[in-house]
C-alpha cells in the first residue's frame, strides 16, 4: 500500500524535547525531614483546649503521634514538582497504551469539577440541598443510556473492574429471580484480566472460549459451550485485538436462547459511539470506563468511573439509590425494589462523573461520532504504516486500536522482544504501547493512538516504531538512556521487598 500522505508539520504529540532526564536521585521526602519544621497552620476556633489525656482514656492514647514528615511548604512543593518532572503524561505527549484510551483530557472538564458548588456538597445532604448534583447525575445517566442503547444505569462503580463485579452480581440476582442458579460465565481467551477475576469474585466459574482464526468469537465454537449452566458471557466489542465481533447478533441470540445474559465490557466503547450500540447488539449489561471513552483523566492510575447500564428487565436490580426525575422537574433518590445493594460507600466517583458530563455536553452527538471516526481512522492509518515492519497476526480492518507483534515480523523486528521495542520508543519521544497483551498474541504490542493525536503525531509514532524495529537488540538493551532511570531491577524489588521508607531504614 502506498503512503501518499506524509504530513509536513511538526508532530504535536512527540515529547523528545522534554527535559525528563535523570541527573541524580530525588531524595525521599523522609530524607528532607527536620524535627520541628512544619507547614501546617489551623484556624482559631475558641474551643476549650482540653489536653489529650483529658479526652482519650490512657490505654487508648498513643503517647506520641505517628511520625509523618517535618518539612517546609517550600521544600514540599519543590520535591513534588521534581517528582512531577520525572513523570510522563498525556499533557506532555502521545500515550498510545492500548486498551487504556489515553486521549487528551480537556481542561474545561477540570474547571467544571473544581466548582465549589460541586466540591463542597456533603454526600448525605438532604436532596433539597443537592438538586444540582442529582440533576447532573441523572442527566449523565440518561445520556450514557442513549450512547449504549440501554434503559437504566448505576453510576456507583468507581472503576471498570468494579463495574464488572456490579454487573455480574446483577446477572446473578436476575437468574435467582428466575429461580435459576447457573454456575458458569463464558469469557473469550482475549479478554482483559479483570473479567475472569470479577467472575470469580461474583461466585461464578470462568470458562474460557477460544477465539477463532480470525480473532473473533465464532458462533459455531460458542455453541459447544452453551448449556443450562451458563449464566452469561462477557465480551468486549471491539475486542482486545481491536476487531469488531461481526457475529455478535448471532452470538446474542444463541446466548439468550440458552437463557444466559450478555455482558459488555465497555473498555473499547471509544470506537463505536454514534455508529452502533451495545444495546442494539443484544447486550443486557454494559459497563463504561468514563476515564477512557469520556476523557476523565487517569490520575496516575485512578480515580476512574465505571457506570453500569442495563436493559429494562434488569433495572430493578441496580445498586441503589439512583437519581430519579419527578414530574415537577425536581430530583430525588430512588431505591430499586430488588436492588443488589450498594457497591460504593456513597454515590460513586462523583467529581469524575462531573468531568464526564462536561465532556459529553461539549461533544454532543456530533462530537462523539467524530471521536470514534478519528480514533478508528488513526488506528488503521497507523496499522497501514506498520505493515511490512511488524507482524499483524489478525490482519483485518481494525477499530480504534491495533495489535502487532515482533514474533514472525517480516524484517529485523523479528529478532526483538516487545519489551525492547517499548523501551526503545521511550527514548524516541513516545510512551510505549501496551505490551504482552492480549495474551493470545506472542510479543504483542497493542497500540491505541486515540482520536486526539494529529496525523503528524501518528506519522511520527509510526516512524519511531519503524526506527526501533531496525535497531539492534543490543542497542535497545541500553534504552531508555534519556529517562531518569533505565531498566529498574524488578526481580530485586520482589525478592528484597522495600515497600516503605521504614523497611529500607530497618535494612
Amino acid at each position: 500500500m502506498s503512503h501518499a500522505y506524509v504530513p509536513r508539520a511538526a508532530p504535536g504529540g512527540r515529547a523528545s524535547s522534554a527535559p525528563l532526564m535523570g541527573g541524580g536521585d530525588e531524595p525521599a521526602i523522609f530524607e528532607m525531614s527536620v524535627p520541628g519544621r512544619r507547614c501546617a497552620s489551623l484556624r482559631a476556633t475558641g474551643v476549650p483546649e482540653w489536653t489529650a489525656e483529658e479526652l482519650v482514656p490512657a490505654e487508648e492514647l498513643r503517647p506520641e503521634p505517628p511520625t509523618m514528615v517535618e518539612v517546609s511548604e517550600r521544600d514540599l512543593v519543590a520535591h513534588m514538582t521534581r517528582l512531577a518532572h520525572r513523570q510522563y503524561s498525556v499533557d506532555m505527549g502521545a500515550y498510545p497504551l492500548g486498551s487504556c484510551t489515553m486521549k487528551y483530557n480537556p481542561k474545561l472538564c477540570d474547571e467544571a469539577a473544581a466548582l465549589p458548588g460541586l466540591r463542597s456538597a456533603h454526600p448525605a445532604a438532604p436532596v433539597a440541598y443537592v438538586q444540582g448534583w442529582l440533576e447532573l447525575l441523572w442527566s449523565l445517566g440518561e445520556a450514557l443510556c442513549k450512547v449504549t442503547g440501554m434503559d437504566a444505569i448505576t453510576l456507583q462503580p468507581p472503576a471498570g473492574a468494579a463495574g464488572e463485579l456490579t454487573g455480574l452480581l446483577m446477572m446473578r440476582a436476575w437468574h435467582a429471580s428466575e429461580g435459576r442458579s447457573p454456575s458458569k460465565v463464558l469469557i473469550p481467551d482475549s479478554a482483559h484480566g479483570t473479567n475472569p477475576a470479577s467472575v470469580s469474585l461474583a461466585g461464578y466459574r470462568v470458562v474460557s472460549v477460544p477465539s477463532d482464526g480470525r480473532g473473533l468469537v465464532s458462533p459455531s465454537v460458542l455453541s459447544g459451550y452453551l448449556d443450562d449452566d451458563v449464566a452469561g458471557i462477557m465480551l468486549t466489542n471491539p475486542n482486545t485485538l481491536g476487531l469488531f465481533e461481526e457475529h455478535i447478533a448471532e452470538v446474542a441470540r444463541a446466548v439468550h436462547e440458552a437463557r444466559g445474559l450478555l455482558y459488555y465490557d465497555g473498555a473499547n466503547l471509544n470506537a463505536i459511539m454514534g455508529v452502533t450500540r451495545p444495546g442494539d447488539m443484544g447486550f443486557d449489561i454494559v459497563h463504561m470506563n468514563l476515564h477512557k471513552t469520556f476523557a476523565v483523566p487517569h490520575g496516575g492510575g485512578g480515580p476512574g468511573a465505571g457506570p453500569v447500564a442495563v436493559s429494562r428487565r434488569l433495572a430493578d436490580f441496580l445498586p441503589g439509590p439512583v437519581p430519579e426525575r419527578w414530574p415537577d422537574g425536581s430530583f430525588a433518590w430512588h431505591h430499586p425494589p430488588r436492588s443488589i445493594g450498594r457497591t460504593h460507600g456513597w454515590h460513586g466517583n462523583a467529581l469524575a462523573l462531573a468531568r464526564a458530563w462536561a465532556y459529553l455536553l461539549a461533544n454532543g452527538a456530533d462530537g462523539l461520532r467524530r471521536v470514534s471516526e478519528a480514533a478508528v481512522l488513526n488506528a488503521n492509518w497507523l496499522l497501514s504504516r506498520l505493515k511490512g515492519t511488524y507482524a499483524v497476526p489478525y490482519d483485518r480492518p481494525a477499530m480504534h486500536e491495533v495489535v502487532v507483534s515482533t514474533r514472525d515480523a517480516p524484517g529485523p523486528a523479528a529478532g526483538l522482544r516487545a519489551l525492547e521495542v517499548a523501551k526503545g520508543l521511550l527514548e524516541r519521544g513516545f510512551h510505549s504501547p501496551t505490551v504482552y497483551f492480549p495474551l493470545v498474541v506472542a510479543e504483542a504490542l497493542m497500540i491505541e493512538p486515540t482520536e486526539t493525536e494529529s496525523p503528524e503525531t501518528v506519522n511520527a509514532l509510526a516512524e519511531a516504531l519503524i526506527e526501533v524495529a531496525n535497531t539492534s537488540a543490543a542497542e535497545l538493551a541500553q534504552a531508555p538512556r534519556t529517562a531518569p532511570v533505565t531498566r529498574a531491577d524488578e526481580a530485586l524489588a520482589a525478592r528484597a521487598l522495600v515497600p516503605t521508607w521504614d523497611a529500607l531504614s530497618r535494612g
Binding site: R38, M68, L165, R277, G300, A493, A494
Partner: protein, 449 residues
C-alpha cells in the same frame, strides 16, 4: 462545539485515500448493517466551552449544601484542605498519567506512591500499605476477601459499629461468594463480642470466623477497643481487621500495635473535599504475613542497571492481569491521584500538625456533645469516649430534625439506623468554631421545642 479531534477535512481525505477508502463510513465496514445506528445518537449537538462552563456553573449553584454549616460525617468529613494540596494534586503530570506500566517514565507517580505507602503504614502501625483502593467501604471488602482467602473460612464477624453504608457494600459485593456475615452488636458504643468461653455453636454463624472486624472510632464516633477484637480473633484463630480513622491516628494507638492483621480506612479526611462522596480513598495496610495477598498495586524501591534508586510496581503476580480468575481481587484502576493528595496533606500536616488536628476534632466533639445533651429532647446514644463524632437520640424523627436544622443553616448530621433505633450522628472537624457550635445547640433547642 470545541473540537478535540485535530484532523482537518484534508487530513481525513488523504488518510482515507492511503487506506484505499472513500468515506469514513467505510472504516466501520465490519459493523453489520443491521446493527448500524440510523440517524446518529439522540443527544443534543455539542456546545462551546463557555456554554458548557455556564451549564456546569448552573448545576453547581443549584447545590445549597455548601451554604450549610457542616456537622455531617459518617465517612465524609468537612476538613480544611490547604492550597498546596490542590496545587500539587492538580499538576497535569499526576492528573493525566496512567498506571506506571513503564517505570522509567513514571518515577514521579511511583515515588509519590512509595511515600504515601510509608505514611499510611505509619498511621496503621503495619509494615506494608498498598497504593490505594477505591474507598473505605471497598477497602473493607478487600480485607474480608483477603481473610477468607488466608483462612479458607467463609464466616466473618463484623461489628455493628462498622459504618452501615460499608456494611451494605460488604453484603452486596460478597453476595456471590456466599459469605456468612455475622453482625456483632454494640452496647453503649462498644462491640459486645461473644465471650471466650461461649462455644462456637452457641454464637451466630456457628462456624469459626475468617476475620473479626472492628471499627475504632466506630460509626457512633466511639473508641472501640481493638485489643478486645484481637483477643476474640485469637480465641477463634481468625484474622483481626481494624477500621481506623487517619485523623484520629494522631491520638489513638495504631491498629498494628493492637494486633490488627489488616487495617483499612477511608482516606478522604486527608486532603479530599466532600465532593458529594467521591473520588475518595481506600487506605489498606497489612502485616508481613499477608503481603502476598495484598489487593491492588504495591510500589517497591529498587535499583536500575546503573545503580540509581528506582521505584516499580512489585509482587505483580498477585494481580488480576496475571492471575486472572485465581486473583483474590479484581482491582486495576485505583485512586492514585487521591493518594498523592493524601500524601501531600500528610506531609503538610507533619507530625505535630496531625496531633493538633486530631486534638481539635476531639475537643470540638466533646464541647458540642456536652452542649447538646443539655438540650431538652436530646440524649447521647452512647457513653464511650469519642474523637470526632458522636451519636444522639433526639425526640423527633431524625430526618425531620435534619430538615429543620437545615432551615436554620446547619447540616446537622447524618441519620444512622442502629438496630431498632435511629440516631443522629454529628461530626465536628477542626473547621467548626465555638460560636458555630453554640449556634447549633441553640438551633437544636428551637427545632425540638
Amino acid at each position: 462545539m470545541p473540537d478535540y479531534v485535530p484532523h482537518t477535512d484534508d487530513d481525513i481525505g488523504r488518510m482515507l485515500a492511503d487506506l484505499g477508502l472513500n468515506d469514513v463510513d467505510e472504516l466501520f465496514a465490519a459493523v453489520p448493517g443491521a446493527l448500524r445506528l440510523a440517524g446518529g445518537l439522540d443527544l443534543p449537538v455539542g456546545l462551546s466551552e463557555y456554554e458548557v462552563a455556564d451549564e456546569m456553573s448552573r448545576l453547581a449553584a443549584a447545590n445549597r449544601a455548601g451554604d450549610l454549616v457542616c456537622f455531617a460525617g459518617t465517612g465524609a468529613y468537612d476538613h480544611d484542605v490547604p492550597a498546596v494540596v490542590r496545587a500539587i494534586a492538580g499538576r497535569p503530570e499526576f492528573v493525566t498519567s496512567y498506571t506506571p506500566y513503564q517505570p522509567e517514565v513514571a518515577q514521579g507517580v511511583l515515588q509519590a506512591l512509595f511515600e504515601y505507602q510509608t505514611l499510611v503504614s505509619r498511621l496503621a502501625g503495619l509494615p506494608v500499605a498498598n497504593a490505594s483502593v477505591y474507598d473505605g467501604a471497598t477497602a473493607l471488602v478487600e480485607a474480608v476477601n483477603l481473610a477468607v482467602a488466608a483462612t479458607g473460612r467463609s464466616t466473618v464477624w463484623v461489628s455493628r459499629g462498622v459504618n452501615p453504608r460499608w456494611w451494605e457494600v460488604l453484603r452486596a459485593l460478597t453476595a456471590g461468594r456466599g459469605l456468612d456475615l455475622v453482625e456483632v452488636p454494640i452496647v453503649d458504643g462498644v462491640t459486645a463480642w461473644p465471650s471466650a468461653d461461649a462455644p462456637v455453636a452457641s454464637v451466630p454463624g456457628q462456624a469459626l470466623p475468617a476475620a473479626v472486624v472492628c471499627a475504632s472510632p466506630n460509626v457512633l464516633g466511639c473508641i472501640d477497643p481493638l485489643r478486645a477484637a484481637r483477643a476474640v480473633a485469637d480465641e477463634r484463630g481468625a484474622l483481626m481487621v481494624a477500621v481506623f480513622d487517619p485523623i484520629a491516628s494522631g491520638l489513638l494507638r495504631t491498629p498494628g500495635e493492637q494486633g490488627a492483621d489488616v487495617a483499612v480506612s477511608e482516606g478522604q479526611p486527608l486532603g479530599t473535599p466532600l465532593s458529594f462522596g467521591g473520588p475518595y480513598l481506600g487506605m489498606f495496610a497489612v502485616s508481613h504475613e499477608h503481603v502476598r495477598r495484598l489487593p491492588g498495586r504495591l510500589v517497591g524501591r529498587t535499583r536500575d542497571v546503573h545503580g540509581r534508586t528506582a521505584y516499580v510496581t512489585t509482587l505483580r503476580a498477585r494481580e488480576q492481569d496475571i492471575r486472572r480468575e485465581r486473583a483474590s481481587s479484581n482491582i486495576c484502576t485505583n485512586q492514585t491521584l487521591v493518594a498523592i493528595a493524601a500524601m501531600v496533606q500528610m506531609a503538610w500536616l507533619g507530625t505535630g500538625g496531625l496531633r493538633e488536628l486530631a486534638l481539635r476534632c476531639a475537643r470540638g466533639a466533646r464541647y458540642l456533645r456536652e452542649a447538646l445533651v443539655r438540650v431538652p429532647g436530646v440524649t447521647a446514644a452512647a457513653g464511650a469516649p469519642v474523637v470526632r463524632e458522636f451519636g444522639l437520640r433526639v425526640a423527633l424523627p431524625v430526618a425531620t430534625v435534619v430538615d429543620r436544622m437545615a432551615e436554620e443553616g446547619f447540616l446537622a448530621g447524618v441519620p444512622v439506623e442502629l438496630g431498632q433505633e435511629e440516631v443522629l450522628v454529628v461530626a465536628v472537624t477542626e473547621r467548626r468554631t465555638r460560636s458555630e457550635m453554640d449556634a447549633y445547640a441553640t438551633a437544636m433547642e428551637k427545632v425540638l421545642s
